[in-house]
Amino acid sequence: MNNQVAIVGIGTTGFGRFADRSASSMASEALRQALNDCGLKRADVDGLVVQIGSPRGLDYDEMARLLALETRYSSQTWDHGRFCATVLQQAAMALMAGLADAVACVAVFRNTAFTRHGTEGFPGFEENFREAAGPHAETPHTGLIAPIGAAAMHMQRYAHRYGVTSDALATIALTSRAHAALNPMAFKREPMTMDDYLAAPFICEPLRRFDCSVPVDTGTVVILTRADRAKQLRQQPAYLKSFQGLAGGPNEFVFGQIGLGINQRDIFDYAPRGAREPVFTRAGITPADVDTLHTYDGFSPQVLWALERFGFAEPGKAADWVGGGRIALGGELPVNTSGGHLSEGHSNGWGQTLEIVRQLRGTCGERQIKDCRRALWATTFGDAILYEN
């Protein structure tokens, strides 16, 4: 990409419990903000990529119709959180191919209007009964159900394999909460102590309540254009320097580490590509050149696995690596400075995307990282976007 495309405008309803709000009202509010943010007009938006469709969100066709968008490039991903970077990458590719000149990426999803994820009545419950297993390895007749199950299974094996204790997970949860306390938009801002963390019940052992993200309702819009236009708009552009796509295959599992062998074909000692990941090599940088990391933290251990996959820490060493304030604001690599899914609210990566843009603009207030030049989105599941200002 090499900075040929940028995020120019952002908007959001914030992250909360908006049970009585429609998906179109949240999309409309976020779009209006994003247009005001960059100075583009509604008629300028000719591309639309939607992350979550009906019934939690809106499908692209209804979205375009209800928001009065006339699009010549439209797309939508499967209704799962893992597609944040995929959506942004589709927008970038559409811009580069000339299929559109301004693309709105829209992620709206409602949670509180539905039952708990993993229970009957939650949209997509029938996905638990796919040919082999559900999207998170759900195998309901064995009792392995809800996204947490196989994430916990991976954490238990990881802890055994590398001798990791739950202290590392506490560090992730407490750091996220401390960051959220500085973020007026975060849903969970009340202080959390180690005692609070340990006193909270197990949901699915070894994961406790605060190892789990907080379900919220939210609508977010991010507008992208090519660089020439981005430079003429209101805000400092957040350029997409390099990116790499979502990984798939028999040894990939979204909520685990490669090689642990749970819902994966093989068991082996994981040797991550780390600094050799294309997102770094295409940009000509190393992990040490990244000023802040933002990652998908549906469950706290995913932060450890993302750090290892992308070469910030050796396999099994992330638990030690995150200690001593290293991933906190002021540390060597602040992670999820908005509070992430664990405390800002589970936004499928959109809260983190907004935060990346704000960090690169220098508008994060108390959370601002000094001289923030490069921000990385990178996940357990292998996708990444490197942003620069």
Binding site: E131, H141, L144, I203
Partner: protein, 152 residues
């Protein structure tokens, strides 16, 4: 392979949870039917690739290692070790409400693959300790795999 349905290889227990119906059973396709029929007859059958010899846990239309669609069914002893485990402190499905807290393990079978199953023993699972596959029978005749401790 020859399987004698009158000679079950694995012990069978009744699913003790609620409803007793296999509403939550997996999708059974022509690819997976021999596996689930095998369980109903007391045998754990796993797909073995005729091209590369890979024995898989997930049953699709082809081998997960080489992609070949030539495979045979191979009987597994159901013996293995605890590869990992979790314990649910919340029931997401009504079938499991009466069982909370309940554990589920990932068993690493001697025959190769890692498979999930409910944990039937009183004692907490221990990683790398021996386990034995057991067939769990639901009231409407669906059979799934579960695991308990195996004495050495």
């Amino acid at each position: 392979m020859k399987i004698d349905p009158t000679q079950p290889a694995l012990a069978r227990v009744e699913f003790p949870g609620g409803r007793g119906s296999s509403r939550v059973r997996p999708l059974i396709t022509p690819d997976t039917k021999p596996h689930y029929d095998g369980l109903r007859n007391g045998h754990l059958l796993l797909p073995e690739c005729e091209a590369c010899g890979h024995v898989g846990a997930s049953v699709g239309a082809c081998c997960q290692r080489c992609g070949s669609d030539k495979r045979r069914w191979r009987e597994s002893s159901g013996a293995g070790v605890v590869h990992s485990w979790v314990r649910y402190h919340r029931a997401y499905l009504p079938e499991f409400e009466a069982l909370v807290p309940y554990a589920v393990i990932a068993a690493r079978l001697d025959d190769g693959p890692v498979m999930f199953g409910r944990w039937l023993s009183e004692r907490e699972p221990t990683i790398e300790s021996p386990v034995q596959g057991v067939i769990e029978h639901w009231a409407d005749d669906f059979c799934g795999l579960a695991f308990g401790e195996r004495r050495k």
